[in-house]
């Protein structure tokens, strides 16, 4: 009598992917419960040499690109940049006058900047608001990074604190430090999707709520009668004049009781290389 061979039960192989996914989820859950920042630390330490070498290579490639650009294009670009520089220098003259006036007013109202030792600054320079800041190189920025975050090349080694502000050109604040690792830190931009930031319209001190739309863009929803125009500067609520965004479009439909105001950060995040970190 012959007996038919039973086929091998291969159910373990068939369900192997599900088992692997289950184990993977379990490990991630356990690690996140035990140490929420562990995965971030490991990923950042793996990424650091890539970011440093990548930054070096991209700088060299962009230098090489200059050789292949036509002379005519370079000349035109040079002229246009010269003109922009002259205009900016003229504006800077006016800015320094306004800055002096601002610090004089603050001093008159007893709100001059504090010195590093924490005492009130009564110096003759008008109480200039010196901020203890650290310069950081931007390793990763949008759109390469997801979630509108920046990876900076300073971390616990430079005593960076969570919640410190990311500032460009001493006036524009982009976001705050979200997580600090050994040699890097991650900053979350105010323009991260659906992040709400309390701010004020500089011109008339009206409070508004900026809703992040990603890639340096914001949206504000205000009643139709609110006085807000193209070019208005939006600043963070507080004594310091920290610019967050400028208005570039207003969508107003008469039948709606609210109008949508679109703002964006005044700096090009794609071209960010260095930022300051201040408490």
């Amino acid at each position: 009598m012959t007996y038919l061979l039973q086929s091998k039960k291969n159910w373990p192989k068939k369900y192997a992917p599900l088992i692997v996914v289950g184990v993977f989820i379990f490990i991630v859950v356990v690690i996140t419960f035990i140490s929420p920042s562990f995965l971030g630390r490991v990923s950042n330490s793996i990424g650091l040499p890539f970011w440093h070498s990548g930054g070096f290579l991209f700088d060299k490639v962009s230098d090489l690109k200059a050789f292949t650009s036509s002379r005519f294009i370079l000349l035109e670009t040079n002229k246009s940049l010269q003109a922009q520089l002259t205009e900016t220098q003229i504006r800077l003259l006016a800015f320094s006058v306004i800055e002096k006036e601002n610090s004089d007013l603050k001093k008159a109202w007893g709100r001059s900047g504090e010195s590093k030792d924490g005492s009130e600054d009564g110096s003759e320079d008008g109480g200039k608001n010196e901020v203890n800041s650290i310069l950081a190189y931007v390793l990763v920025k949008p759109p390469q990074s997801f979630y509108d975050t920046l990876i900076l090349d300073v971390g616990q080694d430079k005593n960076i604190n969570k919640g410190s502000k990311i500032i460009v050109a001493n006036t524009v604040v982009l976001g705050t430090i979200d997580e600090v690792f050994g040699k890097t830190s991650r900053a979350k931009l105010f323009s991260s999707a659906d992040l709400e930031t309390l701010a004020t319209i500089d011109r008339n001190s009206l409070p508004v709520t900026l809703i992040g739309k990603g890639a340096g863009n914001f949206e504000i929803q205000v009643p139709q009668e609110v006085d807000i125009v193209f070019g208005d500067t939006i600043i963070l609520s507080g004594i310091k004049q920290e610019i967050v965004a400028t208005v570039f479009e207003i969508e107003s439909i008469p039948s709606n009781s609210f109008k949508r105001v679109f703002c964006k950060v005044p700096v090009n995040i794609d071209e960010l290389r260095f930022v300051s970190i201040a408490d």
């Binding site: 992917p17 971030g40 990923s43 890539f50 970011w51 979350k188």
Partner: protein
């Protein structure tokens, strides 16, 4: 095939850190449908989330969950495609 898979994995790993997102996303999707049981996509999603997202407990694992779903769905799609 193994060497090709390792090469693609290395390119994706470098891409996570250096290249725009669409490059390694496309490579990962190609890998999940081209290779058999492409578990590496799970690690890609996890790495992106741990690098670039702030986690408040379990919020912020969007790409990890997406990669798990793509991995599981790819089995069903592959069964129905004549190519396989």
């Amino acid at each position: 095939m193994l060497f090709l898979r390792i090469f693609v994995d290395i390119v994706i790993l470098i891409g996570i850190f250096l290249f725009p997102a669409w490059i390694f996303i496309i490579l990962s999707l190609i890998g999940v449908f081209y290779f058999h049981r492409y578990y590496e996509i799970l690690l890609v999603g996890l790495m992106v989330d741990s690098l670039y997202n702030s986690h408040i407990l379990f919020s912020g694992f969007f790409y990890t969950i997406t990669s798990i779903l793509i991995f599981l769905i790819s089995f069903e799609i592959k069964k129905r495609l004549k190519f396989y």
